[in-house]
């Protein structure tokens, strides 16, 4: 088979994608307007989940503390707004830079450890930041959350209203654009190098690759994107709570990614949709029940669909084609 053709095909846009994006645009606006704010949350969470996929799915860096960067972005955008600058796009950019910088600092530690130590460091980082944000109560609002955020009109035109139309359009647009950026990244030489490092770091070293530098780069990028997701949440809900940094958010995002399927970007989006919609529908139940079901689902997926729900669907589709 012609290698150029094969690589092109691997990177091409599939018909599912062309259908997917219009649907997620149209569905909440016309069919479920009462779910617009949930839809915004899903779009934001999907973006956050994609940021984790970059490091976990592609580069093989396991993290249980990625909410640290989500929260840093949320506080950065929130504080900027609370101190008088509520322009949303520059707020996102500011949050991205702050979170990416934090990611870059942390990346020096991350690339030096593996396995259990990696889990512990990322976990510890999350705890540390929650405590820090809590103890800086006068600055961050502590356990009461950051108040006084006022998000200005988007592009000076669209007001962030109670119904959340602007919020959803805004979140979805940012998700879509950053999704395209991430897809660029994973289908580039850099993306291939990351996958190779994930598959076998000893070999990439033996081929001359500076693993640590590559990993630091993707970790920094990923932290920046997580920060943008956090900033979106701060801007659209006009509040930031300590939970945005917390362990639960870090763990949930990892669950979503594993449910949806790692290393395929769409798995992150699908995982976020399934998780968030299911939780919303089961919200009337006792929260313990919710964890019961999500626990069960997680076990089933991991046991029977090791490549996640999307990976499972891909396999079904491949089987169907062979028939």
């Amino acid at each position: 088979m012609d290698p150029h053709l094969w690589l092109k095909r691997k990177g091409r846009i599939s018909p599912y994608e062309v259908v997917f994006w219009p649907i997620v645009l149209v569905l909440p606006f016309w069919l479920f307007p009462t779910y617009l704010s949930l839809s915004s949350q899903i779009a934001i969470t999907a973006l956050f989940c994609i940021s984790l996929d970059l490091i976990l799915g592609y580069a093989g860096i396991i993290s249980l503390g990625h909410a640290a960067f989500f929260g840093i972005g949320a506080y950065a955008a929130g504080l900027l707004s609370a101190h008088g600058w509520g322009e949303p796009l520059s707020g996102l950019a500011f949050a991205a830079v702050v979170a990416a910088f934090a990611g870059w600092i942390v990346s020096f530690m991350i690339v030096r450890v593996q396995h259990l130590a990696l889990l512990m460091i990322t976990l510890g980082l999350g705890f540390l930041l929650v405590e820090l944000a809590n103890s800086l109560g006068s600055f961050t609002g502590g356990a009461d959350g950051l108040q006084g955020i006022d998000t200005w009109k988007l592009l000076g035109v669209w007001k962030f209203s109670f119904w959340g139309k602007t919020a959803y359009a805004y979140s979805l647009a940012v998700l879509f654009i950053l999704f395209l950026v991430c897809r660029r990244i994973v289908r580039s030489p850099f993306g291939l190098t990351l996958e190779a490092i994930r598959e076998n770091p000893d070999r990439t070293t033996a081929l001359g690759a500076p693993n640590r530098a590559h990993l630091q780069k993707i970790f920094t990028l990923s932290a920046g994107i997580a920060g943008i997701a956090g900033a979106l949440l701060a801007q659209t809900t006009e509040t930031v709570s300590l939970e945005s940094l917390g362990f639960q958010r870090s763990a949930e995002i990892a669950i979503m990614l594993i449910l949806g399927g790692t290393g395929r970007l769409y798995g992150a989006i699908l995982g976020a949709i399934i998780f968030m919609v299911a939780r919303d529908q089961l919200a009337g139940m006792n929260p313990q029940y919710w964890y019961f079901w999500i626990g069960l689902l997680l076990m089933i997926v991991v046991l029977f669909m090791p490549r996640g729900i999307l990976g499972g669907l891909e396999r079904l589709a491949a089987l169907g084609r062979r028939r």
Binding site: G11, S188, P189, T205, A206, P210
Partner: protein, 253 residues
């Protein structure tokens, strides 16, 4: 008179794991264009020596020089960029990637564009052609786009070599390239090695004496971390010491 610069040279390398001495004052030189075999019984320290040369393990003492320049303290990946490249005794590949992607990755890293993320992979036409050409040359062209874990064992051994070659090495260290490959295929594999450009210096570890005597112009015998002797194939074949500790008592060859 100026002594000719050796492609690779180790001086008085020592390494011990606890009480087990695995490298005992190893001084070895590899002139440019060498076809040098490293032989010795299991556990003699052959792989360890490659690890010491490539910087995977730090020596307790001694030095390594590449092209006459000290590289003892350098990181592994930096040594590779300078032309010192190895393959692995046990397949060390990228199971989920295809051979095409694997070799492409090596080419892109060598070209210094592995961190580039603006243009898509498919736009790197020259690198793709080079990667595919190399795979074709080693007989892997037809399987270039199958996942590596699907390849037959012998094909994976060839991919080991393809990856190393993609870095355009000056010195190539091959750790039992034919290990586990059926006898009928191992000769072909060594033909591919023999066909490498003459200016590449090759050190290879091999247990099969026929292959060693056919393809090596010099042989070093390593026993319990020590160089027992070094010489031409003829000298080694007739060395009584070698016959005793290695050829005679060995379970292979």
């Amino acid at each position: 008179m100026i002594a000719p610069v050796n492609a690779l040279e180790t001086g008085h390398l020592n390494k011990a794991f606890g009480k087990l001495v695995v490298a005992d004052d190893i001084s070895l030189t590899l002139p440019q264009g060498a076809r040098h075999a490293l032989i010795g019984p299991n556990g003699a320290g052959k792989t360890t020596l490659i690890n010491l040369m490539t910087g995977v393990l730090p020596p307790d003492s001694g030095h390594v020089r590449l092209d006459g320049k000290e590289i003892t303290g350098l990181e592994s990946d930096v040594r590779v960029k300078r032309g010192l490249v190895r393959t692995f005794q046990i397949n060390t590949l990228f199971p989920k990637l295809t051979p095409l992607e694997s070799v492409l990755m090596a080419v892109l890293e060598r070209e210094g564009i592995s961190g580039q993320w603006i243009a898509p992979l498919a736009a790197r036409r020259d690198a793709i052609d080079e990667a595919f050409g190399l795979l074709t040359q080693l007989g892997l062209g037809d399987d270039a786009t199958r996942p590596t874990h699907d390849l037959a064992y012998g094909q994976q051994r060839l991919l080991e070599i393809a990856l190393a070659l993609a870095t355009k090495p000056k010195v190539l260290l091959l750790d039992e390239p034919a290990a586990g490959v059926p006898k009928s295929e191992s000769a072909a594999l060594f033909e591919a090695i023999a066909a490498l450009p003459a200016d590449i210096s090759v050190l290879f570890i091999e247990h099969d004496m026929n292959l060693v005597f056919t393809f090596a112009s010099r042989i070093t015998v390593l026993v319990q971390g020590r160089i027992l002797t070094e010489g031409s194939p003829d000298e080694i074949a007739h060395d009584p010491q070698v016959r005793e500790v290695y050829l005679g008592g060995a379970d292979h060859g």
